[in-house]
Symmetry: C2
């Protein structure tokens, strides 16, 4: 089996010759090749220049034995076309100049158009696909409705998403309208990424773990579910990712996604039980392990593989993005280790035989 | 049954006339009476002046129908006597001037003496107990070893505790020494609070949820377990609290505590199953609910009570501390609601009959 098939087979729960592996934020600031580009361009210009975004997407595919590429972009890009401008401020992350908090703010938002507002992402997807077709599959992505609404309301990152929860609790109709506009932005954008060449899409609900299960089921799941239904209707392979979601997994699984992405806070076996039948699992090494001494990295990676026990439908990943300062050598060693160790596991698992 | 008995009965898993309720950070900045004191004194002076700390401890006991007092102090206070100075910086929280990161830094630390270094807390405990004896029980507390080590190493709050994890992974002997010195500081301090009049103690492992279960079991549990063993040997009632701990609960329960404090990210029934037999549960309303419209607060509080189903051994609390800006009226209404609704629940549960 070639490197091109492992990832998509695992997304369908099919056995592969070994466990596929890719890393969230695999294209980015820990790589020397990336830093050379970053030194010459502002971040937003890198996203908006398809040639640069494609080159950055390809850097980790060339450097490491990973089984998928993910387009170099940002989860927040869809907000701009909705009328929610932002910039990336050094050491603070994204900052939204005019946060969206009132019903009037929300009513004034547009639904973004994928070609007009996000055509540069689609062009980068086309460039990358032309380059890697047949080698490794390409993943498109966007932020999930809750996480995008959270940034829009808080004006940036937040420790507790209190303003976001207040909009949910105090202005439920305005909240639903905001989520609806985000959904109507995301569905065409994700489909357009697939038309442009992405073979799977990941929805990042990075901050949804601040919610209790009841609020998730009431205020988030109905909106997120619409996206996954639309994707499934077109047989688009999808990954549904969040962090701090131990209590939310049954509801996230019900909302949709062929694969649930989980963080390191829950053993994989438990994640599988909570996700229920027919859902596959991506994760879940703590990104801090990549900054640990090699023997600690190996021990922790093997623990993740052992907890998946060679089960088909496991995609090895981190529980969140690669951290700045991560040594490239550790990323390389981890990708190789996953392949070597899991090939052994698969051979001993009759149920995983290809 | 009087207000004085509910809390301690629940800590032992015994039925009570209704579910006891108290709130983390119930004494603090959301109260007008507190703000009047705060306007006149720096925060550290308030902790160090037993008369002020006692008065602040009593304010919510007078204002609301809560079933326990908790001494006004800070989880970090034990660090100072170890040689780790800090100050509270407006809008940033605690800042440690010289973070502890090398083996030499850790070797230089002292073990604090409860009477010499923390006598002001003990004096405040004595003052409060004299005032409320027979009315409501008094809870003493401290930060747990991991959370204190995290502050000491990071130099303050941290989004991912990466420096802390690096000490764990790269310098495991230094890590164990740091944890050992914290344990030898905490055990006498917690026992001294009980000798001074506290009828239970809570260990706040507020940030332990950043760890995966394997790291928790390896680097944290052996140290935390020593504390709970020492408390149990003296029949001291103890609460073991953390946030984001869905995956850690079985290990936290094994490390000890009569009661596990859990946050809102996991339904109470699931927390009970994970904690195993003989462990009681405190929690778990999202503190954001106290800033919601009354009908949302009521719905969410009832969901928490329903998920406990009148089971003996439930202590109603938030999943983390009361947030600034919380209306006092909401706190009052919540305490009353817990008593009224749970009295109804208990009556329908034969197993909960007193």
């Amino acid at each position: 089996m070639s490197r091109s098939e492992r990832f998509l087979r695992a997304c369908r729960g099919e056995a592969a010759d070994c466990t596929p592996v890719w890393f969230m934020r695999q294209a980015g600031r820990y790589m020397k090749a990336y830093q050379e580009i970053r030194a010459r361009y502002p971040l937003m210009e890198m996203f908006r220049t398809p040639g640069l975004a494609a080159e950055i997407t390809l850097q980790p595919v060339r450097a490491f034995s990973i089984d998928a590429a993910i387009i170099f972009a940002d989860i927040l890009l869809p907000l701009e076309g909705m009328g929610i401008g932002f910039e990336f401020v050094e050491s603070r992350g994204p900052v939204i100049a005019r946060p969206v908090r009132s019903a009037a703010d929300i009513e004034a938002l547009r639904v973004a158009d994928p070609e007009e507002d996000l055509g540069y992402v689609l062009e980068a997807v086309r460039n990358v696909r032309a380059e890697i077709d047949g080698k490794v599959p390409l993943i498109g992505f966007a932020g999930a409705p809750f996480t995008l609404a959270g940034y829009a309301i808080e004006g940036g990152g937040s420790p507790n998403h209190l303003l976001t929860k207040r909009v949910m609790y105090e202005q439920p109709e305005a909240w639903d309208l905001l989520m609806d506009k985000i959904v109507r932005t995301l569905v065409p954008f994700l489909k357009a990424q697939v038309r442009a060449g992405a073979q799977a899409v990941q929805l990042f609900d990075s901050w949804v773990g601040c919610l209790d299960p009841s609020d998730y089921a009431r205020y988030v799941a109905p909106h997120t579910r619409r996206i996954f239904r639309e994707l499934r209707a077109e047989a688009i392979v999808s990954i549904h990712f969040g962090t701090g979601t131990a209590g939310l997994l049954p509801f996230m699984a019900e909302a949709g996604g062929d694969v649930l992405g989980v963080d390191w806070r829950l053993p994989l076996g438990e994640a599988w039980r909570k996700a229920g039948p027919g859902v596959h699992i991506q994760g879940n090494l703590d990104p801090a392990a990549l900054l640990a001494p090699r023997e600690v990295l190996v021990r922790k990676a093997v623990e993740v593989l052992d907890s998946a026990a060679g089960r088909p439908g496991h995609i090895f990943n981190l529980g969140h993005g690669i951290l700045p300062g991560t040594p490239e050598d550790s990323v390389r060693a981890l990708a190789d280790l996953v392949h070597e160790r899991s090939a052994g596991l698969s051979r001993t698992q009759p149920s995983a035989a290809t």
